[in-house]
């Protein structure tokens, strides 16, 4: 299989050594602990709560019903009693509606999901969303309105520090392939391609053993960030370019994260709903770990389980260091899309003082989407949202390459991310004008 690569990108320090050799450890459910389950852990409409205060729930019980076409089911992560329906801290929106469950002593049973005739329905019932971080409801992605010829499995894990997908690929190799195979057969897709970054030689080898029996192509990917970006991966493996503002579907491809395939396998074969996931806890914690954690566990509890902070924490990030969110509160619960919890001390952090742009053009070189971050930044600073829209800021994938490489430490990607809501308003107004 030829490898085509993609334009731009950066080579940050990977810092995966602390956890890449550590097998996945199960974080036990603690009796009496509170689990705060947000009703919006996915892109789309928040789920509708189905439980009342003081109600007893079993692990795996449906407590939030998908509301609308793009939405996902939410299951009780633990058995216990609902103590409150109240707002929970959220890393992005600040607050989100949620259900708080107090875990009981009895945790052996997990209620099975309804496995239906229709594959997509099972996926919906199990509450599966994209586990790479985007958390797009998987049943929607798996109901393509167009012919798809290739299923691309994303095992790049190009974000520094994170090793949760790497460990899954080593420990659950066959299950992941079986999950992908289920998707391939259900959707009648001819080609299955699995892309894994070259720095995970052991994972490549593990998958290589199954390549002939399951008939898929294994593509070793160049080690470069953002190799795991959906559009970058498609370009790199298939040399197809997803048109502006379109989905991969447009070029006949569906991309799934390896963790999502495992969740699909677990749902169909083991009738297990999505109530836990693997998260990499690393950085300035006493014992960095890859942990299998129930959704709803507060970040503080997870850090405590890893021996607590090492030194004085300055910044705690949920997700990877390039695209994750800094937390303002350690009561934020673990969510379906949380792939990492990273702790940084003052001395781990770079100098954040911004200087003026020196027009060196490095941001332009590294932007994998072919944008001009230096110019867009000036529009962000002046709040010129019309111009931002004209310079295609909506195409920005928020990968952070530009900010990473800027010698003046301009806050480029951050500004694009936060300006998008205003730009959306501009685009909507233009659309309305066009349609009279």
């Amino acid at each position: 299989m030829p490898f085509f690569g993609f334009r731009g990108g950066v080579h940050p320090d990977y810092n995966k050594g602390a956890t890449s050799g550590k097998p996945i450890e199960v974080m036990p459910v603690k009796e009496g602990a509170l689990y705060g389950v947000p009703l919006a852990q996915h892109i789309g409409a928040p789920a509708k709560p189905l439980v009342a205060k003081n109600q007893e729930v079993k692990a795996g019980e449906l407590i939030g019903q998908a509301a609308g076409f793009i939405s996902a089911n939410i299951h009780a992560p633990v058995s216990g009693r609902v103590v409150a329906l109240q707002s929970l801290p959220h890393p992005v929106s600040g607050k989100t509606a949620g259900i708080i469950i107090e875990a009981s002593g009895e945790q052996d049973e997990i209620l099975p999901v309804n496995v239906s005739e229709k594959f997509q329905e099972t996926v919906l019932n199990a509450g599966i969303v994209g586990l790479g971080g985007a958390t797009f409801p998987s049943n929607v992605k798996l109901s393509p309105p167009k012919k798809v010829d290739t299923l691309l499995l994303n095992g790049a894990e190009c974000e520094p520090y994170l090793t949760c997908d790497h460990r899954l690929m080593l420990e659950k190799t066959e299950e992941i392939i079986k999950g992908a195979d289920l998707i391939r057969r259900a959707l009648n897709i001819e080609n299955l391609i699995i892309g894994i970054e070259e720095n995970k030689a052991d994972a490549l080898e593990a998958f290589g053993k199954f390549a002939s029996s399951y008939k898929f192509e294994l593509v070793p990917l160049e080690v470069k960030y953002p190799q795991g970006g959906e559009k970058q991966l498609i370009k790199a493996c298939l040399n197809r370019t997803v048109p502006e503002g379109m989905l991969p579907l447009e070029v006949g491809v569906i991309v799934h994260n390896v963790g999502t395939c495992l969740a699909v396998y677990d749902a169909v074969e083991n009738k297990k709903p999505l109530i836990e996931r693997v998260v990499t806890v690393t950085g300035a914690v006493k014992e960095p770990k890859n942990l299998l954690v129930r959704v709803g566990t507060p970040v503080q509890d997870i850090i405590d389980y890893c021996g607590g902070f090492l030194g004085e924490p300055r910044k705690v990030v949920m997700g990877g260091p390039m695209m994750g969110f800094a937390l303002s509160n350690l009561d934020v619960p673990m969510m379906k899309g949380t792939s990492g919890i990273l702790v940084f001390r003052e001395e781990d952090l770079p100098d954040l003082k911004q200087c003026n742009c020196i027009r060196c053009g490095r941001c332009v070189d590294v932007c994998p989407m072919g944008l001009i971050p230096s110019v867009m930044d000036r529009f962000v600073v002046r709040e010129m949202y019309e111009s931002l829209a004209d310079w295609h800021v909506m195409n920005c994938i928020e990968c952070g390459c530009c900010s990473y490489d800027c010698p003046s430490r301009r806050n480029l990607a951050g500004g694009f991310k936060t300006s998008k809501r205003e730009v959306m308003k501009v685009l909507k107004a233009r659309e309305a004008e066009k349609n009279g």
């Binding site: 929106s93 600040g94 962000v380 709040e383 806050n411 951050g414 936060t418 809501r421």
Partner: protein, 260 residues
């Protein structure tokens, strides 16, 4: 050489003639009052009236589609002149100003994280609902000040916007710029305003800000003309009823009511 000059001259003459005929033939009669009204407008082209510029509003006023005092920037005198020009009656015209309904600056309202992003309120508002514990209060990055086209605003040391009422023309650009709708436009002769937007319960407000409205209803009970309504733990004064007695400011335990 001479031929070239002659060709140039004759081409110019023919084109000029054509233009002259066209301007006579296709002449559109324009209401002269549009220009007169336009001359009375401030020519700031601020957009506060909702039209693309002063000329567009002038046309609309002459056509009777907008009131003579539709320009929020215009002083009462000029509005009267426009009305007189068009032979129209004009109601009373108290100057309106913009007022900031938040007192929680850096010293009163604690922050929940350090913010390094672009200096604009929309951006900080996007990140975990703003960097203040209070999710209703002023974010302090000054988007309103940037939007003001009349130099009538500045940010004070406490990172709160201040409006210079003499310069404020009530064009409403700051109101539009604020992602938290903190600024309101009211008549200048109504100085008492509840300077808080928080709909949180009293206890939560106290945690987030030392000068927030806790919804205790003391002001409502003490107002002689019942001008104050408390809904969702937030007091609101109805300026149409208020008689400017100042009782509410006196009794408010957190000093959330402010006299401008």
């Amino acid at each position: 050489m001479t031929a070239a000059i002659l060709t140039m001259l004759s081409t110019g003459f023919v084109a000029g003639l054509g233009l002259m005929i066209a301007s006579k033939k296709f002449h559109v009669e324009k209401d002269p009052r549009i220009e007169q009204v336009g001359n009375l407008l401030p020519a700031a082209n601020c957009g506060g009236c909702g039209f693309p510029g002063c000329a567009a509003l002038a046309e609309s006023i002459v056509q009777g589609k907008s009131a003579p005092n539709a320009c929020p920037v215009l002083g009462a005198e000029s509005a009267k002149e426009i009305a007189a020009l068009l032979g129209l009656e004009l109601g009373s015209n108290v100057k309106k100003v913009a007022r900031v309904r938040c007192k929680g600056g850096r010293t009163e309202a604690p922050e929940k994280y350090d913010y390094y992003g672009p200096k604009d309120c929309h951006s900080v508002n996007m990140l975990a609902g703003g960097n203040k514990l209070c999710s209703y209060g002023c974010l302090g990055e000054g988007s309103c000040v940037k939007a003001c086209g009349f130099d009538a605003m500045y940010m004070d040391e406490n990172r709160l916007p201040v409006i210079i009422e003499e310069k404020c023309t009530s064009c409403g650009m700051c109101v539009k710029a604020c992602p938290r709708s903190i600024i309101t436009i009211i008549e200048q002769d109504k100085p008492f305003v509840v300077a808080c937007m928080s709909k949180d319960k009293g206890g939560d407000v106290k945690k987030a800000c030392s000068v927030g409205c806790i919804g205790c209803k003391l002001c409502a009970k003490n107002c002689p003309v019942t001008a104050i309504q408390v809904d969702n733990f937030l007091a609101v004064i109805d300026p149409d009823i208020c008689i400017n007695c100042g009782k509410c400011e006196e009794v408010c335990p957190t000093k959330a009511i402010k006299k401008f």
